[in-house]
C-alpha cells in the first residue's frame, strides 16, 4: 500500500472525517498509525490552545467602562415612537401621490374616435346629429382642455359600451344612423315585439272548378325542338 500518497487521507481522518478504508489501513500499517496519532495530537493541541485563548475573561471594569461610554450617548429611540410613525406615514402618502401623478401623466392618450361623414346619394338634408355626441354615448363625454389634451369622462347617464378598437368606427356610424331615425337601423336596434300576432285567416281552396285534361302532344313539342336547337 502506498502510505505516502495517503497522507492527506490520514489528515482527513485526524480532522474528524472518518473513512472506513483509511481506518482499516491504519489498523494494518504501523507507520500510518503513528502518523495518524501525530495528526491527532496536533489537532488536539490546536483546539486546546484556541480554547484556552478564547476563555480569557475581560478585566473586571470592562462592563462598567462600556456603561460609562453608553451613558454619554443619547437615549436609544424606539422605531415605534408616534412621531416617527406619523412622519413615516406622511412620507409614504406623499410618495404614493407622486407615483400616482407620474403614472397618470405617463398613461397614453385615448385615441380620438372620428366619426366619418357618410356620403349619401340623397340630397335631402339629414337631421342634424353632432358626431361627437354619438361618441358621448359610447365612451362618456369627451372634453377638450385648454392645452388640447383630450380627457374622457364617464359621467353620463347612458350605459357605457366596451368596444374593440377596430369596431369603434362601425359602432359610431351605427349610433349616428340610429339618432337619424334610420328605419332599418332603428328596427335593428329596437327589441322584437313581445305580443303575438294573430294568424290571418286563409279561405279554403276551391278545387271543384279544376278540370282534368289529357296532355296534347303538339302543345309541348315546339318547346322540345327549341331545347334541341340550343343543344346543337
Amino acid at each position: 500500500m502506498k502510505c505516502k500518497n495517503d497522507r492527506d487521507a490520514l489528515l482527513e481522518t485526524a480532522a474528524g472525517n472518518v473513512k472506513g478504508k483509511i481506518l482499516a489501513q491504519v489498523e494494518e500499517c504501523s507507520p500510518c498509525r503513528a502518523s495518524r496519532q501525530q495528526e491527532h495530537v496536533l489537532f488536539d493541541t490546536i483546539d486546546q490552545t484556541l480554547r484556552a485563548r478564547m476563555a480569557e475573561m475581560p478585566r473586571d471594569g470592562f462592563l462598567a467602562d462600556v456603561r460609562a461610554r453608553i451613558s454619554l450617548e443619547p437615549e436609544p429611540r424606539s422605531l415605534m415612537n408616534p412621531v416617527w410613525i406619523l412622519a413615516t406615514a406622511s412620507v409614504m402618502v406623499a410618495m404614493l401621490a407622486t407615483v400616482a401623478t407620474w403614472k397618470t401623466r405617463l398613461r397614453p392618450e385615448p385615441p380620438v374616435v372620428s366619426v366619418p361623414t357618410l356620403s349619401t346619394a340623397d340630397a335631402s338634408p339629414q337631421p342634424k346629429v353632432a358626431p361627437p355626441k354619438a361618441i358621448e354615448t359610447l365612451h362618456g363625454s369627451v372634453h377638450r382642455q385648454g392645452n388640447g389634451q383630450t380627457v374622457a369622462t364617464s359621467a353620463t347617464a347612458e350605459p357605457e359600451v366596451l368596444v374593440p378598437p377596430d369596431e369603434r368606427e362601425a359602432l359610431a356610424r351605427f349610433i349616428t344612423h340610429l339618432r337619424a331615425q334610420d328605419e332599418v337601423v332603428v328596427a335593428f336596434a329596437s327589441p322584437a315585439p313581445t305580443e303575438k300576432s294573430e294568424p290571418t285567416e286563409i279561405p279554403p281552396l276551391e278545387i271543384s272548378r279544376l278540370q282534368f285534361k289529357p296532355l296534347v302532344w303538339e302543345r309541348w313539342r315546339p318547346a322540345e325542338d327549341h331545347h334541341g336547337q340550343e343543344e346543337r
Partner: protein, 185 residues
C-alpha cells in the same frame, strides 16, 4: 392647589409617558444583552487582536454601536449575531491598522523593544505560531473556528449566530482545522 404638569408643546402627557416607558424598557433590555454578550464580544475580539487591551477597545466600540441601533436589534438572536459579526470586523480593522502602524514605526525605530519576561512566559512558541496561522486563514473560516473555540459553541449555535446553514459551518470548521494543521506541521 392645582397640580401643574410640564409637557412639550405638540405632545400630550400620555405620549410623553409612553415614550419614557419605551426608553426605559430599551435601556433595561440592553443591560440584559450587555451582561449576556459583553464577554462574547471581548472573546471574539481577543481571538483576532494581539492583546487584551485592544480587544477591550474593540468590544466596547462594537457594544456602543449595538446600543445606537438597539431599536433594530431587540431580538436576542439577532443581537448576538450582529454583535459577533461587527466585533469580528472591527477587530480585523484594528489588527490591520496596528500592523500598518507597526510597519511605519519599524522604519524609524533603531531597535525594537525587547519582550519582557512576562510576555515570554505568557506566550509559548506554539501559541505564537498558531496565531500567525490563524491570521493567514480566510475570514469566514477564521470566524467559525473562533466561535467554535469560544464557550464550546456547537455547529448549530454557530450556524444561528452567523445565519448560515449548519452544513456550511461544519464544512468551514473542517477546512479551517485542516489548513491550520498543514501550516503548523
Amino acid at each position: 392647589m392645582q397640580e401643574v404638569a410640564l409637557i412639550r408643546p405638540g405632545r400630550t402627557a400620555e405620549t410623553e409617558l409612553a415614550s419614557e416607558r419605551e426608553e426605559s424598557s430599551l435601556r433595561r433590555e440592553f443591560e440584559e444583552r450587555l451582561l449576556e454578550c459583553g464577554t462574547l464580544a471581548f472573546r471574539v475580539a481577543r481571538g483576532v487582536v494581539h492583546n487584551a487591551a485592544d480587544a477591550e477597545d474593540v468590544a466596547q466600540e462594537a457594544l456602543l454601536r449595538a446600543y445606537r441601533r438597539f431599536d433594530r436589534l431587540r431580538d436576542r438572536t439577532r443581537f448576538r449575531a450582529w454583535l459577533v459579526r461587527t466585533t469580528f470586523r472591527l477587530a480585523l480593522d484594528q489588527t490591520r491598522s496596528s500592523r500598518r502602524r507597526e510597519q511605519r514605526e519599524t522604519v524609524w525605530a533603531v531597535e525594537a523593544p525587547l519582550p519582557t519576561a512576562e510576555d515570554l512566559a505568557a506566550s509559548s512558541e506554539f501559541g505564537r505560531r498558531l496565531m500567525e496561522a490563524m491570521e493567514s486563514l480566510p475570514e469566514k473560516l477564521r470566524l467559525v473556528l473562533l466561535l467554535a473555540s469560544i464557550d464550546g459553541h456547537s455547529s448549530d449555535e454557530i450556524a444561528e449566530l452567523l445565519q448560515v446553514p449548519v452544513g456550511t459551518v461544519k464544512s468551514r470548521l473542517h477546512s479551517a482545522r485542516k489548513q491550520l494543521a498543514e501550516k503548523l506541521r
